[in-house]
């Protein structure tokens, strides 16, 4: 029996000790730049169509490449080329190290020395291969985690009803599922989507030099 859906729950749980509580998925600098809490649903959809699609596509391709014993460095390079902000690349690689700890402890196995420098979606792809998380669930995980990261951060940054934030994530579930089904068949680095969100990238750069902040990124 496949445990993929339970793995999705395990990995999508905020209690997973991978360092997720340090993240706002760009929301903290977005609010500082004038985005209002009421605009958060639109912010979630914008991410899902751009940066989150890149992340999810990268993870799916990394899983496929890992399954064939291919070179994950090539996947990492494709992700980096689609992530123009140095701050976001650095943050993604820090998150990758967090997931690498999860991987090496929960699903140990021989791991490339270069894995310490791989971004989160690349490590997640390797993890999904080793843990037997199916491609569509892997893409769902990336989409769901991004939305929950934004809304959980919103509760720390602005007053609001936690159930309202949860409703926004629920409303987004069909979109996340659609994205996951579209991305699940991807196999090679050149197939990774390349949509960008210049404002999100720019805000990330500003945030990187801000000292009064709750979240790393």
């Amino acid at each position: 029996m496949s445990t993929s859906s339970l793995l999705l729950a395990l990995l999508g749980d905020a209690r997973l000790p991978s360092g997720g509580h340090t993240q706002s998925a760009g929301l903290e600098p977005a609010l500082r730049a004038g985005t209002t809490p009421a605009e958060v649903p639109a912010y979630l959809r914008a991410r899902l169509r751009t940066v989150t699609r890149v992340e999810a596509g990268t993870a799916v391709v990394a899983r496929a490449v890992a399954a064939e014993g291919g070179d994950l460095d090539a996947v990492e390079a494709a992700w980096a080329a689609r992530t123009p902000s140095p701050a976001l690349r650095a943050n993604g690689r820090r998150l990758g190290r967090g997931y690498l700890r999860v991987l090496q402890t929960l699903w140990p196995g021989p791991t490339d020395d270069r894995a310490r420098h791989w971004a989160r979606p690349v490590v997640l792809g390797l993890l999904a291969h080793r843990a037997d998380l199916c491609p569509v669930d892997l893409a769902r995980l990336v989409g769901y985690d991004d939305a929950q990261t934004v809304t959980a951060a919103l509760l720390k940054l602005e007053p609001g009803d936690p159930l309202q934030a949860t409703a926004w994530v629920r409303d987004l579930l069909p979109d996340i599922d659609r994205m996951a089904r579209q991305l699940a068949p991807l196999r090679t680095p050149d197939e990774i989507p390349s949509g960008g969100a210049p404002l999100i990238e720019r805000w990330a750069q500003t945030h990187d030099t801000t000292t009064e902040r709750l979240f790393s990124a």
Binding site: T22, A153, R213, L214, S216
Partner: protein, 247 residues
């Protein structure tokens, strides 16, 4: 350069926890001032909203600013030292890689409540800091940090007369709550107390290097009383009374 007789496997990681305003940053500044010519040190801070502590330590001029780094915790100081130590552990690993070899890495928790203690997955030893200005009764409130941290600090003893706290009694009650584990009444104006702290850290470092030290988890919960009158602990083997319903 400091000399070490044995090469440790890695630096000793020392956690400093305790409520806001009790003097954690000042204590770390004292340690840096007293030890940075003898030990190769680095400091990680966990501020809730700013890098205030890192800036304080840098401005104190007691350590190369490069060796002091803040870690953002997403407003979850308790999570960052206990439930999910990832961000802090990565910061410690980076420090150890960038300044190899190090003898001591001090991790300052963002000020939190009395239940916030470090996971043994992050630190080798930890001290818990209270201050007399917070009230003499705080030691009696208990909690895992007060009862079972490797060292309890009762800080700002020089303020006792100004806040009507009997410092000797506070230290005595702290010792009683800890079943003999060490307590130091500390003041930056009391050189003997600083010497005592420094000696404790050096002693712990020797134990760490000899490989004899096993990190102790103070535990998430202190023994506590329920409405039905039963008292119990969540730490195995520490039950203080017959467990009743709900224990």
């Amino acid at each position: 350069m400091p000399e070490t007789t044995k090469t440790p496997a890695r630096a000793m990681r020392l956690g400093v926890a305790g409520p806001v305003g009790t003097g954690k940053s000042s204590l770390i500044a004292l340690l840096c001032r007293a030890l940075s010519d003898r030990l190769r040190m680095a400091v990680i801070t966990n501020d809730i909203y700013t890098d205030e502590d890192a800036r304080f330590l840098k401005s104190a001029g007691v350590l190369d600013p490069e060796r002091i780094r803040p870690v953002e915790t997403g407003a979850c100081p308790h999570t960052a030292i206990r439930d999910d130590v990832t961000a802090n552990l990565l910061a410690v690993e980076d420090m150890e890689a960038d300044f190899d070899p190090l003898d001591l890495v001090v991790i300052e928790s963002g000020g939190d409540n009395l239940t916030a203690t470090f996971s043994p997955a992050l630190v080798d030893a930890q001290l818990f800091v209270l201050d007399v200005a917070g009230g003499g009764d705080v030691v009696r409130k208990g909690g895992p940090g007060i009862a079972r941290a490797d060292l309890l600090i009762v800080n700002k003893t020089d303020l006792g007369p100004y806040v009507s706290v009997d410092v000797e009694r506070m230290v005595r009650e702290g010792s009683a709550a800890r079943e003999g584990r060490p307590v130091i009444g500390l003041s930056r104006t009391d050189a003997a107390s600083i010497d005592e702290l420094v000696a404790w850290v050096l002693g712990m470092l020797d134990t760490h290097r000899s490989g004899d030290h096993t990190p102790i988890d103070p535990g998430p919960m202190a023994p506590h009383t329920h409405a039905d009158g039963t008292t119990h602990s969540h730490t195995p083997g520490r039950a203080s009374a017959a467990a009743g319903p709900g224990a």
